[in-house]
C-alpha cells in the first residue's frame, strides 16, 4: 500500500446514487479500517486532538483499531463524543482533525472521520451499549432542543446522574440531523435513530411536540416543574431570504422547507402524505452544506440542478467531499453569479431568474474576498424552482419569552464560551442558538462545555 495516501473508501457509483436516497459513502470494512489505522504515526503531541472540538483521543482510539480491538476503540471515543456515527459522517474533517494531521504535510492525512465512523457503526452492529450512571442524584435538568448540542449536553449530564428531560418542538428528535441533513449523507433509521436511542439508554427522557415559549416557558419549567437548571440548544432554524422581487412566487422555497419536506416528512417517498414540488430545472442559491444537500435532493427528485453562488469555488463554505460528490452526480456550478430577480407567469409560478455576474474584490471582515457586481452583466436563465439557501438565524421565540435572558443584535443568546452560562441564573446555552449557524461538532463541543458548567453550578448550589 501507498502510505502517503488514504485507503480509499467504497462509494455508490455516481450514476446510480444520483437516482436514489441511499447512503453515498459505504464506509470501511474491518480490514480496510485496520489498514488505514496503520498509517497513524501515534504522535506524542498529537495535533489532530487539538483540531477536534471535543478533543477525542484520536491516536488512542486509532491504535485500538490497528490491533482490531474495536470495542476498546469505541470506549475511547465514547469518553468524548456521544454521536460518533454522526460526526464521522458530517464533520468538515479537512478543517478540523484531519487538517492538523502531520501525515497531511507530505501526503494525505489519516482518514480519521472514516475510522471514527467505522468504530461507531461496528459498535452499533455488534450491540455495544453505552453505560448508564449507577445512581441518579435526584436533580432535574431540562434541555431545550434535541439537536447535536442538546443530545450531547443531555448525555453528559445523564452520565453524571442527573434526571434529564429533552423538550423538542418537532415530532422527531435529532434537530438538523433529522430534518436537515439528507438520508444519502446520514441515514435516519440506520444511524440517527440508534444514536438517539443510545442517549435515551443513558436515562434521558425526550418529550416531543413541545414548543418552549409557547407550550410552556422556561420560567414555568423552573418555577412549576422543578427543573433546577436549563440548557438551551434550540439552534438557528430561521431561514433568510434575499428580499428580491418574485421571492414569494410559487416554486420558491427556503432550503429548510425543501429539506424538511424531504428528510423529516419523507416527501420523496410515495407512501408518505406530504407533497414536494418536483421541478424540472432547479436553481439553488448559496454555497454551504445546506445548499449542497438541497441541490443533491432536487437532483434525486429528477431535476437538472444549478448551484448559483456569488463567490468562486475556493470560497464555497461546504465540505469538500460534498462539493466533490455533487459534481460527480451532475450538479452544475454557476459560480460568481448572484440572482437579482425571480420571474413569474400570470399565475405567480416561477419561470426564470435574472442573474448578475460577480467578480472578487478585496477580502472582507471574514477574510474571504468580497464579491462585487459586474455592471451590465445581467442575463436570464429558465428555471421552475428556486431554493434559497442563504443561511439561518436563531428563532427569537425562546429569548423573547424568558425573563432576563439576553441576546445580541443577531438574536443570538449571549452565553459564556467556556461553560455556556447565560445572563439568567441556572440557564445555560450553546450551539447555533449562541453562535448562529455553525457545525454539528461545534454544537456538540458547546453542549459538553455546558454540561460541565451546569454540573459545577448544581454541585455548588446543593
Amino acid at each position: 500500500m501507498d502510505m502517503m495516501k488514504k485507503v480509499p473508501v467504497r462509494e455508490q457509483e455516481p450514476a446510480v446514487r444520483a437516482k436514489n436516497f441511499e447512503e453515498v459513502c459505504l464506509g470501511y470494512d474491518a480490514g480496510e479500517a485496520m489498514e488505514e489505522a496503520s498509517r497513524c504515526l501515534n504522535c506524542k503531541n498529537a495535533k489532530c486532538i487539538q483540531g477536534c472540538p471535543v478533543s477525542i483521543d484520536i491516536p488512542g482510539f486509532i491504535q485500538q483499531v490497528k490491533e482490531g480491538k474495536f470495542a476498546e476503540a469505541a470506549a475511547v471515543i465514547g469518553k468524548s463524543s456521544a454521536l460518533p456515527a454522526v460526526c464521522g459522517r458530517v464533520c468538515p474533517q479537512e478543517s478540523q482533525c484531519e487538517g492538523k494531521c502531520v501525515r497531511g504535510i507530505k501526503g494525505e492525512p489519516v482518514s480519521i472521520g472514516k475510522l471514527e465512523r467505522f468504530v461507531a457503526d461496528w459498535s452499533r452492529e455488534n450491540g455495544i451499549e453505552p453505560e448508564k450512571a449507577k445512581e441518579t442524584n435526584g436533580k432535574k435538568v431540562a434541555v431545550i432542543g434535541s439537536g447535536p448540542a442538546g443530545l450531547t449536553c443531555a448525555g453528559d449530564l445523564a452520565k453524571l446522574g442527573y434526571e434529564v428531560t429533552i423538550f423538542e418542538a418537532l415530532h422527531e428528535p435529532g434537530g438538523v440531523l433529522t430534518y436537515g441533513i439528507p438520508e444519502f449523507r446520514l441515514p435516519k433509521l440506520g444511524v440517527v435513530r440508534p444514536e438517539i436511542e443510545n442517549v435515551k439508554k443513558l436515562g434521558v427522557t425526550i418529550e416531543t411536540d413541545v414548543v418552549i415559549g409557547k407550550s410552556v416557558t422556561i420560567d414555568e419549567l423552573m418555577d412549576e416543574e422543578g427543573y433546577q437548571a436549563v440548557f438551551i440548544g434550540s439552534g438557528a432554524g430561521l431561514p433568510k431570504f434575499m428580499g428580491i422581487p418574485g421571492e414569494n412566487a410559487n416554486g420558491v422555497f427556503s432550503a429548510n422547507e425543501y429539506l424538511t419536506r424531504s428528510n423529516l416528512m419523507k416527501a420523496f417517498r410515495e407512501d408518505y402524505d406530504t407533497p414536494i414540488f418536483r421541478g424540472k430545472k432547479v436553481a439553488v442559491v448559496g454555497g454551504g452544506n445546506v445548499a449542497m444537500d438541497a441541490a443533491r435532493t432536487a437532483l434525486r427528485l429528477g431535476a437538472e440542478v444549478h448551484i448559483v453562488y456569488r463567490r468562486s469555488e475556493a470560497e464555497l463554505p461546504a465540505r469538500v467531499e460534498e462539493v466533490h460528490h455533487a459534481k460527480e452526480e451532475g450538479v452544475v456550478f454557476d459560480l460568481l453569479r448572484n440572482p437579482v430577480e425571480i420571474l413569474t407567469d400570470e399565475n405567480d409560478w416561477v419561470t426564470g431568474m435574472v442573474i448578475r455576474k460577480m467578480e472578487l474584490g478585496e477580502p472582507d471582515a471574514s477574510g474571504r474576498r468580497r464579491p462585487v457586481e459586474v455592471p451590465g452583466s445581467d442575463y436570464t436563465i429558465d428555471v421552475d424552482t428556486v431554493i434559497m439557501s442563504l443561511g439561518t438565524s436563531p428563532n427569537p421565540l425562546i429569548s423573547s419569552t424568558t425573563k432576563g435572558l439576553e441576546t445580541n443584535r443577531w438574536k443570538c443568546i449571549i452565553a459564556d464560551e467556556a461553560d455556556g452560562k447565560t445572563t439568567k441564573e441556572g440557564v445555560y446555552a450553546g450551539g447555533d442558538a449562541v453562535t448562529g449557524a455553525a457545525t454539528v461538532i461545534l454544537a456538540m463541543g458547546a453542549g459538553k462545555a455546558a454540561a460541565k458548567g451546569i454540573d459545577e453550578y448544581l454541585q455548588k448550589r446543593k
Binding site: 407550550s215 414569494n248 410559487n250 424538511t260 419536506r261 416528512m265
Partner: protein, 296 residues
C-alpha cells in the same frame, strides 16, 4: 400519543374532535393554532383551536375534508389518537394582550365564513367571559354546512346567520349582511374580525375598507413546521414578508396581499387533488377527471 375523547361529524365533510393535550390546553389563547399529524406517514396539518378545557386538558379542533390527509383524519374515532399534536402556535388575538378597559370600549363585529366559525368561536366566547357583547355574522354555502350555530348564539350579543343559497335564515353573502347592518340598521363598529375562506376575507376587507372599519383576518396558508423555521407560510402584509405561523396568523386585513396568498395556496393543489381522488375512489378510479393524470 394524543387521545381523541370525542369525534363528531358536524356537517358534510366537517368534523369536530376533542383531543387530550394537557400542555396545549393549559397554555392556549384565542387566535392560536395547533399542528396535528395523525400517524407515521401523515402530514403536519395546521388547525385553529376551536375550544379548550384547561381542567380536563382537552383541546377542540374542527376541520374540513379538503384533501387526502384530512380525509384520512376524518376516519379517526373516539378512542383513537393522534401521533402528534403541537401547540399552541402563533400569536394570540390582539385583544387578549390588551388592556381590558380598552377592549371594552370598542364595538366588535365578528364575521365567520364556513369552517371559519371554529376559530371565531373561542374569540367570541372570550369576549362573553369578559362581559363584552359582540355582533357575529355567520355565513355558510347552504344550511347543511352551517356549524356551531347554537354555540355561537350562546356567547354572542347578536348572531346574524346567512346562507349563500337562502336555504336557512337570510340569503346572500356575509358582505351583504355587513352592509345592511352598517348602512340600514345604523350599527357602528370599531373593529371587524373576519375568518373564513381566503376569498371571503378578501371581499370583507374590500368592503370594510370602504366603510372605514379596521379589520383583522386570520390567514391559513400552507404550513410545514409551524414554528418559523421554513417560511412555507410566508405572506406579504403591508409590503413586508411575514411568516403567518409566528407573526400571525392574524393580520391587518387591509394590508394583506390576498391575491398572492390565494395563488400560494394553490401550490400543491394538483398533488392534493390527485392524492384525494386516489384515496377516495381507490381501484375504481380510472382517470378522465382532469385531475389525476390517469388514463381515461
Amino acid at each position: 400519543m394524543y387521545k381523541i375523547v370525542k369525534a363528531e361529524c358536524l356537517a358534510d365533510k366537517i368534523y369536530l374532535m376533542d383531543v387530550e393535550a394537557p400542555r396545549v390546553a393549559k397554555a392556549c389563547q384565542p387566535g392560536e393554532f395547533v399542528i396535528v399529524k395523525m400517524d407515521e406517514t401523515g402530514e403536519r396539518i395546521p388547525l385553529t383551536i376551536c375550544d379548550y378545557d384547561r381542567e380536563k386538558g382537552l383541546v377542540t379542533i374542527v376541520f374540513q375534508v379538503v384533501g387526502a390527509s384530512t380525509l384520512r383524519m376524518a376516519s379517526l374515532q373516539e378512542g383513537d389518537a393522534f401521533q402528534d399534536f403541537v401547540g399552541p402556535l402563533g400569536q394570540p388575538s390582539e385583544f387578549v394582550k390588551e388592556d381590558i378597559e380598552a377592549v371594552k370600549g370598542r364595538r366588535y363585529l365578528f364575521v365567520a365564513g364556513g369552517v371559519g366559525s371554529a376559530p371565531v368561536y373561542p374569540q367570541v366566547k372570550w369576549m362573553r367571559e369578559h362581559g363584552i357583547d359582540v355582533d357575529v355574522i355567520e355565513g355558510a354555502k347552504t344550511k347543511s354546512l352551517l356549524i356551531l350555530e347554537e354555540e355561537l348564539r350562546a356567547v354572542a350579543g347578536n348572531l346574524y346567520v346567512t346562507t349563500d343559497d337562502g336555504s336557512y335564515c337570510r340569503k346572500g353573502m356575509v358582505t351583504e349582511v355587513i352592509r345592511d347592518l352598517v348602512e340600514n340598521q345604523g350599527k357602528k363598529y370599531d373593529v371587524c374580525v373576519a375568518i373564513g375562506p381566503m376569498i371571503m376575507m378578501k371581499f370583507v376587507c374590500k368592503l370594510t375598507k370602504e366603510l372605514g372599519i379596521p379589520t383583522i383576518v386570520s390567514l391559513n396558508p400552507i404550513m410545514v413546521d409551524g414554528t418559523g423555521m421554513c417560511g412555507a407560510c410566508r405572506v406579504t402584509v403591508g409590503g413586508e414578508v411575514k411568516f403567518a405561523c409566528v407573526d400571525g396568523p392574524e393580520f391587518d386585513g387591509h394590508q394583506v396581499d390576498f391575491d398572492q396568498a390565494m395563488k400560494r395556496q394553490q401550490m400543491y393543489k394538483t398533488e392534493e387533488g390527485r392524492a384525494y381522488l386516489r384515496e377516495q375512489e381507490k381501484e375504481s378510479h380510472h382517470g378522465g377527471c382532469g385531475m389525476c393524470g390517469g388514463e381515461a
